[in-house]
């Protein structure tokens, strides 16, 4: 300081008029230099300490570039490299990511029924039988090879942000996605192509009802194959068909088809019920017929056995006294028959030569009739 002071006094300010100003200037420069030095020291400290440190998040991978050339890729842990501009750290998202792709019309959002679809405004698919359907999908994908992904596709400077590649040159696609030239735009287009191609080979009826899972699987196969062909380090994890539906104008007609399908099942089920009932009834009836026949067989045999036994036992007595035996059997049988309580009347008539007739009521008056007579009598009394 003293040296500077003497130089100023001897060389520039012999009169001493500017001494105070020069002193201030020198002091300012000294402070500026100190600040600059502190900044540089700070930068050096930062440079060799946490400026080059990074830790890899579980759902990310970090690619290290040295002067732009890929040096290494890390999927776990904390690492230190000399920072920018020597090394650059590129973070890539490696967990599962989802994109939604819709082939739907504005009518779906507005809830209207349109007589036709406006190209560019309404989005739809042409089916193999030249019909129109709408579908809505969710695609799950994963970056399995971050290095390949970064090298193959025009990722943003920060690839974790997928939607910003070329800010000044975007367009909006059917899903309202601001297209770029980057990975998500590519995936969307590949997916749209796969869906268009597969849908063009399926009839509408199958897409809307019976063949939905087959249709969805075919789209996934086609899409995964086209992504593999690009070889961009992306694996397709899932393709889910969220919705498949006909245009609103035709939805009633499709509902009728569904109802008719249900009706067909109902008719078939009713007939099946009839078949089962008939089968059961037939089974029972057959069993009944066979049982009756079996009973008949047993009864016939046992009856004839009993009769033959009875006959044998009577035959001996009959040889001794035929008339008495016959008469006894006959009268006994007749008496048994007559003794039975029933409503029937037995009219006993005399022989032709007898000259008079005898009518006998052998059985008592039935109880039912007696009761009816008593009731009538009571009614008459009440009246």
């Amino acid at each position: 300081m003293e040296e500077v002071k003497s130089v100023i006094q001897n060389e520039f300010d012999r009169s001493g008029r500017y001494e105070s100003g020069l002193k201030s200037l020198v002091k300012s420069l000294q402070w500026a230099f100190r600040i600059l030095l502190a900044i540089i020291i700070g930068m050096v400290i930062y440079f060799i300490s946490w400026g080059g440190y990074f830790s890899v998040e579980p759902q990310q991978a970090v690619i290290v570039l040295r002067f732009g050339k890929i040096l290494d890729t890390f999927e776990t842990g904390g690492h230190w490299y000399l920072p920018y501009p020597i090394n650059t750290f590129i973070r890539v998202q490696t967990n599962q990511q989802f994109i939604n792709v819709d082939f739907t019309g504005t009518e779906v959002k507005a809830g209207e029924i349109r007589d036709s679809l406006e190209p560019g405004r309404d989005h739809y698919l042409l089916t193999g039988d030249a019909n129109i359907v709408h579908t809505s999908w969710t695609v799950g994908y994963k970056i399995s090879d971050p290095e390949r992904y970064y090298s193959a596709l025009l990722t943003p400077a920060n690839p974790v942000v997928n939607n910003q590649v070329v800010d000044d040159d975007t367009f909006t696609d059917a899903d309202g996605f601001e297209g770029t030239r980057g990975p998500q735009t590519l995936l969307r287009n590949l997916f749209r192509q796969a869906v268009i191609k597969v849908t063009g080979g399926f009839p509408a009826e199958q897409i809307l009802s019976s063949g939905q899972s087959r249709y969805s699987e075919a789209v996934q196969r086609e899409f995964a194959a086209s992504v593999r062909a690009i070889n961009c380090g992306i694996d397709i994890e899932s393709v889910v068909l969220d919705r498949a539906f006909p245009p609103s104008k035709t939805s009633n007609a499709f509902a009728e088809v569904t109802a008719a399908g249900t009706m067909q099942s109902t008719l078939r089920n009713q007939a099946e019920t009839y078949r089962v009932e008939t089968e059961n009834d037939t089974q029972a009836r057959c069993a009944e017929i066979k049982a009756a026949a079996e009973t008949y067989r047993k009864e016939t045999v046992s009856t004839i056995k009993a009769e033959s036994s009875y006959f044998s036992s009577i035959l001996a007595e009959y040889h001794n006294n035929p008339r008495t035996v016959l008469m006894a059997l006959y009268t006994s049988t007749l008496a048994d028959a007559m003794r039975k309580p029933s409503e029937e009347r037995f009219v006993i008539g005399t022989g032709a030569k007898a000259g008079r007739k005898v009518w006998l009521q052998l059985n008592p008056e039935p109880k039912v009739k007696l009761n009816e007579a008593a009731k009538k009598e009571q009614d008459a009394k009440e009246k």
Binding site: I40, S116, P119, A152, V257, A292, L334
Partner: protein, 306 residues
């Protein structure tokens, strides 16, 4: 004294050296990324650099560096995606296509097209032309068809790709793939498609009902037929069983041969018992025992008295 000053001011000197080195490196070098190519122009002459890393260059105005990213770009040609394309059999359709392309030769690209924006403008125009030309060679049922053998969508895409590849060969562009990202029909046609879909739905619905009725009828007829058949079989079996019973019973008839009259009489008595079980009005002559006792004169008694 000089040496003393040098050691005294070494931090200042070091600072100066560092700053100067940084400035020199910044001015006389450029970094090229792994995914980039650069075109370096020296007074109008251009050269291509593809190797990633740090490269030397003369500062402006001696040399200029133009960088181009070589990675795949997905570009949807917006031009013509909403205009009608005519198929070979006269159907009007609307097709949107996209391409995946990359800059394969930065120097050729830079010389012919200069920037990606200008390149895409040119690509857009080519895509439109080749798309219309390709679709014009195929029938509508080769674009959508439930028969995979007749569907030629992949072939059409390949044709557009081939045409574009041929066209862009001298422009430093590589066409990686071409695809269709939108396909539709004009507004008026979509209305007609709806009408046809409704008519088809009705036909399908009627078909379902008719088929349901037919199936139900078939099931019922078969059930009835099975029933008749099984009952007939059961009756036949029953008949057989009954015949067996009768056969077994017949073995015991030989006993009755000892006295057929008595056997006949006993059978009649049994029959009488059976008949009398039901509602029967019986008219008997008084000559019939035991009612002959009721006859005038009681002839039977007389007989007994004698």
């Amino acid at each position: 004294m000089a040496n003393g000053n040098f050691f005294k001011h070494w931090p200042t000197m070091l600072l100066g050296v560092i700053v100067a080195a940084i400035l020199l490196v910044a001015v006389f070098s450029f970094q090229l990324g792994q995914t980039e190519s650069a075109v370096v122009t020296t007074f109008g002459r251009s050269g291509e650099v593809n190797e990633p890393g740090l490269h030397f260059r003369w500062p402006f105005p001696f040399q200029r560096v133009y960088r181009f990213d070589r990675r795949i770009r997905c570009f949807s040609g917006s031009s013509g995606s909403l205009e009608e394309t005519r198929t070979s059999d006269g159907h009007n359709i609307l097709v949107g296509i996209y391409i995946n392309y990359r800059i394969s030769n930065a120097q050729a690209f830079f010389v012919s097209l200069e920037t990606p924006t200008k390149a895409e403008s040119q690509l857009n125009s080519w895509m439109r032309g080749f798309k219309n030309a390709a679709f014009g060679q195929y029938r509508f049922n080769q674009i959508v068809n439930t028969d995979a053998k007749q569907m030629k969508l992949a072939e059409i895409q390949q044709k557009i790709k081939d045409d574009l590849t041929k066209q862009t060969a001298g422009y430093g562009i590589e066409i990686v793939s071409v695809g269709i990202n939108n396909i539709g029909v004009p507004k008026t046609i979509s209305a007609k498609v709806f009408e046809r879909m409704i008519a088809e739905c009705k036909k399908v619905a009627d078909g379902y009902i008719a088929e349901g009725n037919r199936e139900a009828r078939e099931i019922r007829i078969k059930a009835d037929s099975d029933r008749t058949q099984r009952l007939a079989e059961a009756e036949a079996k029953a008949k057989e069983i009954r015949a067996q019973g009768d056969g077994e019973a017949a073995k015991h008839y030989s006993v009755f041969k000892q006295n057929p009259e008595l056997a006949e009489f006993l059978r009649k008595l049994d029959s009488l018992r059976e008949v009398m079980k039901g509602r029967t009005t019986l008219l008997l002559d008084t000559n019939t025992a035991p009612f002959d006792l009721l006859k005038p004169g009681a002839e039977t008694l007389k007989t007994v008295a004698k």
